[in-house]
Symmetry: C2
Subunit: 531 residues, 2 copies
């Protein structure tokens, strides 16, 4: 949990990362399979060499004991985990670094920071685990502000109460995934919300960004697991009633979920838990045609089986990640239960896959290790290591990013072609060279999938940020134009704001802005995000 | 569909109602089992005898072709289906009758009505099927308004588009349950949202009030079935993007769902459909202890089985409805699927019931008619006929009403006692005589049930409305004080407003009011409801 061990140039702690072998494999695959060649590796800027802006702010005495402003703290809180973040880190571009980082211990501390920041026109950036891949915690704010304070919630890290009867817990907003699960474990319960950022992201961050987790169907977003929320805003607190369900007016929680720190800070929430799974089953199916795999996902989604995992990965994405040879797409189906064996469920899901042209790759029958075997296991391993790839790619001039969306089934095939074609063309246009675009499904609904795209390209040496932006613009434009959502679970942040404004109904945007004025009259909360 | 056949004094059409035999049985049960005696039946006020207020409004020529103001129309749109509505109808209290009823044919008509109403300070009451049991469509508005216009959406009655691939449909807001299902049937699809009001309620009304439907678990509220919403407000239209899932900022749809006509009119929505069920299975279990039955519901809810029906009815409620002898509570469990046999699911649910002391009453094994047999069938029949009871009871001075809520499992038993005791005492206090209070579960979640209470009492001859209000106040107070929600699916309307204001976080209420000012600057939309 100690923040001191965190990298400021990439994912995770300083003692973690790709092994040389993994790195060689990754770069080798890009070079050999796709002609994407690495440049000489730019070095991580040393802390002493990073030029931080001179602080203009005058922190009141009363706040000093909960604040830090040493260079490492400021550097660590200057970026999230997006591709532009990574590019700017390796370019030692820290002009926007926050002035000070606060570590409040209670809600009164937060209110005191708000009061001071409001009077002093200081922008406030709420910070959970810092894992935003969309610029949600990157404190780039306008000149209107006289400074920037990051509120790091890492001291809000407790499971305060567990209700074993209702299977729910009251958990503080700054609690990271592993800390939260560790505190729930003695109760035999689990939240089972495992976004790829699980280790370095927090419950409050998940709720603020409508995070997508472990479950590929049914409880896809953290939204579905929220019983109530306590939000501290500059104007006061919003505490919704803890309920299993309600029909009393528009949901107050739905107004906070997705507000991304622009309305207030989520200090705690009651969330729904699951029994720890006793029965698990995983199967893998190969498809020569990605759309056949998609049809199998649709069949399972519409069958009312609610698998915990239901993901497909296309030929290209398997190839990039060393989990396939480019000849097949992969489907992974898992069921889990704390209550009952899951064979009946898996039997029917298997039929749906076979009916749509799938070939059993990893058999689930009497196979506890199915999730570790074959293409399924290879993909799983690549998936776990994926967040470490970027710190090897960016400094070698390789653009590598992902974006995700959702679309109804009727439009999916056309949508897939449109996005893939637009993004591929943009990579070539921006970098002068063909790159690679791949797709998987992260989540699936009865009425449509959540396609997750990745793109990679060899950038011109100079202007890598601009090259990335060209591709991002084209991909985002294609999503909005073709009926998708600008994000299914990565959130809006600063990077998606422009397209979010177009997706959001105009009058609803105006209502959100008025709500912002009401809750945050000095307009200090995470400026540039959502409102 | 012809509105002319509707009763103005009770549920359904004029040619429907309890048979003499059913009526005798109902009254006999009240008298013999509970000592609740009927008075001489007050007659339904004749249309000619109903004194309607003189209209002060000056309808512009351009709107006349879509409006009606004859006495029957005004009487039919004067009330919903609440207990106070019924009491006032039999008291011929139509002082608040609307001045005019509009039947818009398109969104332009609605906007034209808004424009005129805004200029003329005319209150606008959106009207779907008129089935509100909480005063949601009862046009009781303040003297601020110079008149009242009801917008009856019955011409918005079409399924405009069916997407069989995604299993979704674009349906107009005024489409009633049976009309909607009839139009979906040729596609082999169904919405399967069957509130008790199904025949005389509409999709737009369901969405506006966050209606609870057929499914006792999982897809409990219409909310879960909504892909997008088109809302026409006085300030303009809000059209959300049609998506299977999204994480792009706070949900615009969640802000409209539960707004109960106070922000605008829902003209159409894309909704998620189900395949028509091919496999169905129902079982019934008797429990000598209601809390054992509740524990069985909890076990099934937390097992991840997602039955379509999972309801328990207490001893008293069975007795009232002639489905039990007062010695047992009943549990009904049903599974249904368009895709696969449901035996494995039912097997496990049965174990949960037997483990908690249930005794199999109606066996599901090889029994297509299980839902028609034994106590299960008797309860089902009573449930279907229930809406017709009131027109027999109110004119005989018998108060008979229901209210519903939700609570987490940890608090349930204490909550149940508190509500039951408070309501029983209030019946005695208000009417001077013991009545009867019963409970069932309408819906169930892994973290808590949605208890549904009924109360009945023999009123003093005069002041029946005041007697009802005393009981309602006490019951509502007890719900709020003990941590429940003032409504799980009946909505707020005018009757729950006072307690809703206390349940709703204060700052969220202020945001809603500002949103109201923005969407409805002349404050004409369903005044007194929500905002």
């Amino acid at each position: 949990m100690s923040i001191k061990k965190l990298k400021y140039w990439g994912w995770g702690n300083t003692d973690e990362g790709l092994t040389n072998k993994e790195s060689d494999l990754l770069l080798g695959t890009f070079a050999k399979k796709f002609g994407i060649l690495p440049k000489n590796k730019v070095k991580v800027p040393k802390l002493d060499d990073i030029k931080l802006p001179t602080t203009q702010i005058n922190l009141p005495k009363s706040l000093r004991s909960i604040c830090k402003d040493d260079p490492l703290e400021r550097v660590l809180h200057s970026f999230g985990q997006s591709q532009p973040d990574s590019i700017r880190i390796f370019a030692a571009d820290f002009d926007h670094a926050p002035d000070v980082i606060a570590y409040p211990e209670n809600e009164e501390d937060i209110s005191a920071i708000f009061d001071w920041a409001g009077e002093s026109k200081i922008a406030v950036i709420p910070y959970g685990g810092g894992s935003s891949v969309v610029g949600g915690v990157t404190p780039d704010v306008s000149d209107y502000y006289t400074g920037t304070i990051v509120i790091d919630l890492s001291k809000f890290n407790r499971v305060k109460e567990v209700d074993e009867v209702s299977r729910a817990a009251l958990i503080q907003g700054g609690t990271r995934g592993p800390d939260l699960e560790r505190q729930l474990k003695p109760h035999g319960l689990t939240l089972r919300h495992f976004p790829q950022s699980f280790e370095h992201s927090t419950l409050g961050g998940w709720i603020a960004t409508r995070s997508g987790g472990h479950f590929a169907t049914l409880y896809t977003h953290i939204d579905d697991l929220v019983e109530n929320i306590t939000t501290v805003a500059p104007s006061g607190s919003i505490i919704s009633r803890r309920l299993p369900g309600s029909g009393a007016g528009p949901s107050p929680d739905s107004f906070i979920m997705g507000s991304e720190g622009s309305l207030g800070i989520i200090t705690e929430a009651w969330v729904r838990l699951q029994g720890r799974p006793k029965y698990k089953s995983t199967a893998g199916f190969k498809f020569t045609n990605f759309f056949d795999a998609a049809r199998a996902v649709r069949a399972v989604s519409q069958a009312g089986l609610y698998p915990s995992n239901l993901r497909i990965v296309d030929q290209t994405e398997l190839l990039v990640n060393g989990a396939g040879d480019g000849t097949f797409s992969l489907m992974v189906v898992s069921f889990e239960s704390s209550d009952h064996p899951v064979e009946s469920w898996m039997h029917r899901a298997e039929e749906c896959c076979l009916d749509n042209g799938g070939i059993l790759d990893v058999d689930w029958r009497s196979n506890d290790q199915a999730n570790m075997e074959g293409a399924v296991g290879a993909w799983r391993n690549a998936f776990i290591r994926m967040p470490y790839n970027r710190e090897e790619l960016t400094p070698r001039g390789i653009i590598s990013d992902t974006f995700e969306t959702a679309i109804t089934w009727d439009k999916f095939e056309e949508f897939y072609y449109a996005i893939k074609e637009a993004t591929s063309s943009a990579v070539k246009e921006a970098t002068g060279k063909s790159g690679v675009v791949s797709c998987r499904f992260s989540h699936a609904y009865p009425d449509g999938p959540a396609p997750y795209f990745a793109f990679h390209g060899e950038a011109f040496k100079d202007g890598i940020l601009e090259q990335w932006q060209i591709i991002k613009n084209v991909a985002s434009e294609a999503i909005i134009k073709n009926g998708g959502t600008i994000t299914h679970h990565h959130a809006i942040g600063r990077d998606h704001r422009k397209w979010y404004n177009r997706q959001r109904p105009k009058l609803f945007g105006e209502i959100l802005n008025e709500a912002k004025n009401h809750l945050d009259p000095e307009n200090i909360m995470n400026p540039g995000v959502i409102t």
